[in-house]
């Protein structure tokens, strides 16, 4: 157990990114896929904050990137859930295997 530093936070962030990736690859329900995307976006935010804190403490660029990513994630989640509810209304299912109208 060492004193936590930049590498520890990068480890957490990479692990969280790939956990989200695993969820995105294995899940077939649209809402759980959206949850995985939220995990991935959070890992990116953590990276920005860690670099800002440890490498460029005199600037606040990473902090602003994080703020804007959070705002965009909120907009993205709202639009995605509107689409999911609309899909449920027409298909009675939110499984990606059943949503293949655009495929052929």
């Amino acid at each position: 157990m060492m004193e936590p530093g930049l590498y520890h936070i990068l480890f957490i962030s990479a692990a969280l990114f790939f956990i989200g990736m695993y969820g995105f690859l294995t899940r077939r329900n649209l809402i759980t896929m959206l949850m995985s995307i939220e995990l991935i976006l959070n890992s990116v935010n953590l990276n920005f904050i860690a670099f800002n804190k440890y490498l460029w403490p005199g600037k606040m660029d990473g902090l602003f990137f994080t703020l804007f990513i959070i705002a965009i994630a909120a907009a993205e989640a709202a639009v995605a859930i509107a689409i999911i509810i609309n899909l449920y209304r027409s298909h009675k299912s939110i499984d990606v295997e059943n949503a293949e109208d655009l495929k052929y």
């Binding site: 157990m1 004193e3 590498y7 520890h8 936070i9 990068l10 480890f11 957490i12 990479a14 692990a15 969280l16 790939f18 956990i19 989200g20 990736m21 695993y22 969820g23 690859l25 899940r27 077939r28 329900n29 759980t32 959206l34 949850m35 939220e38 995990l39 959070n42 935010n45 953590l46 904050i49 804190k53 440890y54 490498l55 460029w56 403490p57 005199g58 600037k59 606040m60 902090l63 602003f64 703020l67 804007f68 959070i70 965009i72 994630a73 909120a74 907009a75 993205e76 989640a77 709202a78 639009v79 859930i81 509107a82 689409i83 999911i84 509810i85 609309n86 449920y88 209304r89 939110i94």
Partner: protein, 172 residues
């Protein structure tokens, strides 16, 4: 080994464990709750890094907004007590393998790279400094992205209403 280090490792364990449970549980409501605790753990790490404003934004937007939205959409689209369908074992194994290889490659690159710290005087991330920088129009200010984000949020809001609007059957 002091209190701060222990708190960091506890927060890291909370975040990663809940994230892992969130993508592996078969009950969708539990997945949402685990996601909530994972996001709280990340907010705790922001507090630990002394970025209190970002931690507050994380709790307000993610825990208070997005997770509640996800839970409501689960209520609207899932039957109660129904588990998610089981996945094929082959797909699970290949996903886990791909993810593990990607993680190992990334961590190898990170540990081989040396990061150079800059010798700048640290600017404390207080709300005063953040607000001043966000509304600055001179070099290095963030007034333009701020306005663009507000337009994006407006467009997303209108888009949501239009998409989720129940289309009425045509009557004459």
């Amino acid at each position: 080994m002091n209190g701060s280090t222990i708190i960091f490792y506890l927060l890291a364990a909370l975040t990663l464990t809940c994230g892992l449970l969130s993508v592996s549980t078969r009950q969708i409501f539990r997945a949402a709750i685990y996601l909530l605790f994972s996001l709280i753990g990340i907010a705790g790490i922001y507090f630990w890094l002394q970025y209190e404003f970002i931690a507050a934004v994380q709790i307000v937007v993610y825990v208070g907004g997005i997770v509640v939205l996800i839970i409501f959409s689960i209520f609207l689209t899932q039957q109660a007590g129904e588990k998610l369908a089981k996945q094929k074992v082959g797909r699970k194994i290949f996903s886990a393998l791909a993810v593990f290889c990607g993680f190992a490659l990334t961590m190898l690159q990170v540990y081989q790279h040396t990061f150079y710290e800059t010798s700048e005087t640290p600017v404390p991330a207080t709300v005063f400094n953040i607000g001043k920088k966000m509304l600055a129009v001179d070099d290095g200010g963030y007034a333009l992205p701020f306005e663009v984000i507000s337009m994006l949020l407006l467009a997303a809001m209108i888009g949501c209403i239009v998409i989720a609007l129940r289309s009425k059957p045509e009557t004459k």
